[in-house]
Assembly symmetry: D2
Homo-oligomer: 161 residues x 4
């Protein structure tokens, strides 16, 4: 298996331009991030999501790199959606007692400006916490503080088994 | 550089469980897919998006694997959003004449069932095509035909430079 | 009281242009509609909502009149939202057993064309029916069959007391 | 015509319960409000919308009455949608230079709590103002300051003729 993987890596490196080399490195490091529990999923790892919770605010950062780009070299709308959904969902889960989880039932994203620059930061705020449902507000900003996207998420509260 | 990459691969493989090995393979193959123009972006490649356009219908498939999972081992809501946004956006762009592009201004996703099984298929249908804006409907189904998510996307039509 | 009301009517009629006279008539008839149980609320009555359920399809019609207009003399976006929310909500409630009700948790409306012509017709289709939540699709068309708005509604299923 | 209207009023009053009498009064006064330019449309008048702009904040109030009720005697979701759409749309139009107008392209409303109490107040905040599109945030609160609904609206900027 090990040998087969190195052969695959060689094949990919052979045809790789600079952006692809950066991507390969970020992807491999992404799996490493999951192994080291810096992220809970491969998705979180490969986008290099850094979570930060201070002063009652909850944010997630990702660097803007070839991994996050669409074919026009701006951040893929799906990546922005993934980022803000993760920020809102993580915050929703943080609000719940042990044994309960929040699952997204609705995600609504308004894209306001292209995702460009060094990194994107998503922040989340709970705007409604009922016994069965939650509604969370999310905002994505670029490194200069410009709002790239605003979002709302609806969550359904479930009892985990 | 090559040597450094192989060293990184070895480090990641050293601590990898079965799911992570599957992921590493899919990620490296994802970059390869982009090199071979099977996908236009790293994102499209690592999720192994297969586009299919026949009989007036447009669909995109992705396999459900550890790469698409969240920490609960079901498809990450952000991946479903990325999939359906890509299906709707690609269709929107296909409807436009040379020199014009469609950018997502609003993405709304209702999550109806957990993404489980072998693969997810997103289909898209144009429901409004104006001179300045388009609205597209999207649906994501699992391998058994169960609807996992429904979505609408608003697009703004721009002139490319 | 009766006398006071006739005095109020006289005052309003004194300054009324043709559109306002049409409106007064529709508003008074709207209350009458509720009294005769043609509608269950004043809102339904004053917009003269006609519900129709045949061949598995559920629709609601309203005439386009000065009552439904905004200041630009096209149908007020809120009226279109009210119409499609009523169609989706009524259908959701029709799907439930005795003693249960569906309350809207999310309403998303895409406005595609101005509401003009003789009447608007909203139709609704259930796209997901779970034990706790429902998602319904709604569409609003003008008299010529042009789609004026598309919509999705999320509903939470509650036990009535 | 005048006679016919008084006859209609008598018919409606004959079968009216207390709530319907309150409604008839509010509806007739609503037309009067439009005549006196307190509101720009019949819709605004019959819901007795009071606009208020101070200290950079923009709000609209409506009293909760039988006119705003659904068949369950809480505020009809469509009324809440109409209220917040009007607040967001009015603010959007206030931000534009002479000769330009903003039309709603997307309205998304999360309903958080039943609309009960004395009145509802909608406030709006611009979160994005581009050259072609605007995105506005809206919030609806009851008399006790409880958030009843949150909303976002997308607007397309048009040149008026």
């Amino acid at each position: 298996m090990q040998e087969q993987m190195h052969k695959l890596l060689d094949e990919v490196l052979a045809g790789a331009d600079e952006e692809e080399i950066i991507s390969i490195k970020q992807l491999l490091n992404g799996v490493k991030r999951k192994q080291k529990h810096a992220n809970e999923s491969i998705i979180g790892g490969i986008f290099a999501m850094d979570k930060c919770s201070e002063d009652g605010n909850f944010t997630i950062n990702i660097p803007i790199t070839p991994v996050t780009h669409n074919s026009l070299n701006i951040v893929h709308g799906g990546v922005t959606a993934t980022l803000v959904d993760t920020a809102m969902g993580t915050l929703a889960n943080m609000m719940l007692p042990e044994g309960y989880g929040a699952v997204t039932t609705n995600l609504n994203v308004h894209y306001l400006a292209p995702g460009i620059g060094e990194e994107l930061t998503a922040s989340a705020t709970v705007i409604h916490k009922g016994s069965k449902t939650m509604v969370v507000d999310g905002k994505v900003m670029d490194s200069k503080g410009k709002v790239v996207a605003t979002s709302t998420g609806s969550f359904f509260i479930i009892k985990k088994y």
